[in-house]
């Protein structure tokens, strides 16, 4: 019984914290707009086959009798040179953008955070030196260029683009968590845990990590936007998703060839990228204000 009530109260406390956080977050109209964007985009991406006006236009589809139509009621964003409905392709494009962000972050955050925790906790030892100098090497070149270089030796595909970006992205989390962990390790609660003989894993993951979560979370929501941007850049040069995949970057690159006259082919996918990135950025800023962070 006592156990149950203790956990119950812990849950209630958490719920209360969450409710307060949500209240503060939702008071900021800008963050709510971001949330609405991200929810709408996720909805459209998940249910693309059902909500897209012409779901069969997502892949290999040709209908030259309707090629290069300007925006109209029938095709809200017009059609491309193969007669495919651009709005439908954008909905499917959201899938690839979101997948890019989610997969890259899922691959990058755990190792990045663990390395940062370890290097920060053992600050000043050889572990710190080795880990942080390796991150320095990865951070010595703009991430887009290293990702391009990796993609260039692989066969271009959505999967390989994700791998390439992931390979370049973990050091940012290592650096962020290293900074936090190396100052947290001197806090009294960490010393107290050390004194009572808590295990290293307990100290790293139960004492230090929970205090880094808000920063990691904020960085992740901002990074969703950046990763999507880099992914679209890779597809744009042809080193990421390949046609006929309905990837937003690929669509902009294809449309750019027909630019002055058939502007809608490139412009609507470009706007779709911007709205996606904006949504995640607004949420990230909301988190930053909520947690009063400066270093992210």
């Amino acid at each position: 019984m006592t156990m149950g009530s203790r956990y119950g109260s812990a849950f209630a406390r958490r719920w209360e914290g969450f409710r307060r956080g949500w209240y503060k977050f939702s008071r900021n109209p800008v963050s709510v707009v971001g949330l609405v964007f991200v929810f709408s985009i996720s909805f459209l991406a998940v249910f693309a086959p059902y909500v897209a006006p012409y779901p069969e236009h997502a892949g290999r589809f040709v209908n030259f009798s309707e090629a290069s139509q300007p925006p109209s009621w029938k095709h809200l964003c017009g059609t491309d040179v193969f007669g495919r409905d651009i709005l439908s392709r954008i909905f499917f494009g959201f899938r690839y953008s979101l997948m890019m962000g989610v997969v890259v972050l899922a691959l990058v955050v755990p190792p990045g955070v663990v390395l940062g925790l370890v290097a920060g906790y053992w600050r000043g030892t050889w572990i710190d030196t080795v880990v942080m100098r390796i991150t320095d090497i990865f951070l010595a070149v703009p991430p887009l260029i290293l990702a391009l270089a990796v993609c260039s030796v692989l066969t271009p595909s959505v999967f390989n683009a994700m791998m390439a970006v992931s390979l370049m992205w973990w050091p940012w989390y290592t650096r962020l968590v290293y900074g936090l962990a190396s100052s947290l390790r001197n806090e009294f609660f960490v010393q107290a845990a050390e004194v009572v003989g808590a295990s290293r894993t307990h100290i790293l993951f139960r004492e230090i990590l929970p205090n880094c979560v808000s920063s990691i979370f904020t960085k992740m929501s901002l990074d969703m936007g950046w990763v999507i941007l880099i992914g679209s850049a890779l597809s744009f040069v042809g080193l990421g998703a390949q046609p006929p995949t309905p990837d937003l970057g690929t669509m902009v690159a294809d449309g750019a060839k027909y630019l002055p006259d058939q502007w809608w082919i490139a412009i609507f996918p470009a706007l779709a990228i911007m709205i996606t990135v904006l949504g995640f950025n607004l949420i990230g800023d909301g988190f930053r204000d909520l947690f009063a962070l400066e270093e992210v």
Binding site: R133, I134, D136, I137, F138, A140, V141, P142, P143, L144, I145, L146, L148, A149, V150, C151, S152, V153, L154, T155, G225, L229, S232, A233, F236, V237, G238, L239, V252, A256, L259, P260, W263, A266, I267, A270, I273, M274, V277, L278, N281, L282
Partner: protein, 342 residues
């Protein structure tokens, strides 16, 4: 003395980082699948020719030996031969790098000057319509990929309005000034050819602005928030209370310390600018290093790709040292800390 020690330490670290980067890029270019020799010679080349080139490039030897050949060559200024232009990669770099540096420096200048200016004005007049417009601009700038800016500007100002040229570095009618630095604007200035100078600047406006906007938005955002925070600090009120002139308060006591976070991220912004140059040069057909790099990547030209990444690593390291020095100059805590030998 302190500042020299600071520089020496940074240089030592940079050498280490570049050494590590060379291993990284070497591994990327050699370990991952794909036969570059076959790609360079084409599927119908005879086996002996493939074998010859493979031996010439030491591709048949173990990795550490390959790395040794590559590194010792690189240290002697020999980065190997491009598999496609069939020239020494170093010559290619010498030809193409100045065009990119010219563009990147011009874009970097636009980014820093306008970013700080916009941010400072917005922070000084925070929560007015000026501030709100700058904030909206920052959001648009941050979330728009530079290749989208490039395409939009090309379309609007290049084709529709016809205000700016759409490709290249100089108009056909203009004689190219003698090559001294390789940067057309500098060469034109040195040889007193002002027609070429104007024309070259004219060609640079669209690509440079497309490159600059993202970083500019970032800089404006950070400058704005530091300025509006510092504006509320007691020492500003104290300075005003002493009767220090408004302009002096703004420039010396408010702006100077507020620039520290902005300048600290200038290096990062310049890095992403160099990355984005890969796409923007492609769009504006700018005959630069990044266009060379992206073509090398699309053709799996190993030597050229490794060289491009290494050169950008060197550029980035130099930029970061400069940024650190400027920050040390702005921030007495760092400067004096270094002098105390901390």
């Amino acid at each position: 003395m302190g500042i020299l020690k600071f520089i020496a330490k940074r240089l030592l670290l940079s050498v280490f980082v570049l050494f590590g980067l060379s291993i990284l890029i070497f591994l990327i270019s050699r370990v991952l699948p794909g036969d570059p020799v076959r790609m360079a010679l084409g599927p119908r080349a005879p086996e002996w020719a493939v074998q010859n080139l493979r031996e010439q490039m030491h591709l048949d030897e173990p990795l550490y030996a390959q790395y040794y050949y590559w590194l010792s060559g690189a240290l002697h200024g020999d980065l190997g031969q491009s598999l496609f232009t069939r020239r020494a990669v170093v010559d290619d770099i010498k030809e193409f790098l100045p065009a990119t540096m010219e563009l990147a420096l011009f874009a970097g200048l636009i980014m820093a000057v306008f970013g700080i200016l916009l941010g400072a004005v917005a922070g000084r007049y925070s929560n007015t319509w000026i501030d709100n417009s700058v904030r909206i601009f920052s959001y648009v700038g941050v979330v728009t990929p530079s290749f989208v800016f490039a395409i939009l500007f090309l379309l609007l100002f290049g084709y529709v309005l016809g205000w700016f040229p759409t490709a290249g570095r100089l108009s056909p009618g203009i004689t190219r000034p003698p090559v001294l630095t390789g940067m057309v604007t500098v060469d034109a200035l040195l040889s007193g050819n002002f027609a070429a100078l104007g024309d070259a600047l004219w060609h640079m406006v669209l690509p440079a602005v497309s490159l600059a906007l993202g970083g500019m938005a970032q800089e404006a955002r950070i400058t704005r928030s530091t300025i509006s925070d510092n504006l509320r600090k007691d020492y500003i009120a104290a300075a005003k209370g002493f009767g220090v002139p408004e302009r002096l308060v703004t420039l010396k006591y408010l702006l100077k310390p507020s620039l520290i976070p902005t300048v600290s991220i200038l290096g990062l912004d310049f890095a992403s600018l160099l990355g984005n140059a890969f796409l923007v040069e492609l769009i504006f057909n700018w005959p630069g290093f990044s266009r060379y790099g992206i073509n090398a990547m699309l053709r799996k030209d190993l030597n050229a790709v490794s060289a491009v990444v290494m050169v950008l690593g060197v550029v980035f390291v130099i930029v970061n040292i400069l940024v650190d020095l400027v920050v040390a100059g702005l921030d007495p805590r760092i400067r004096l800390g270094a002098e105390r030998g901390k």
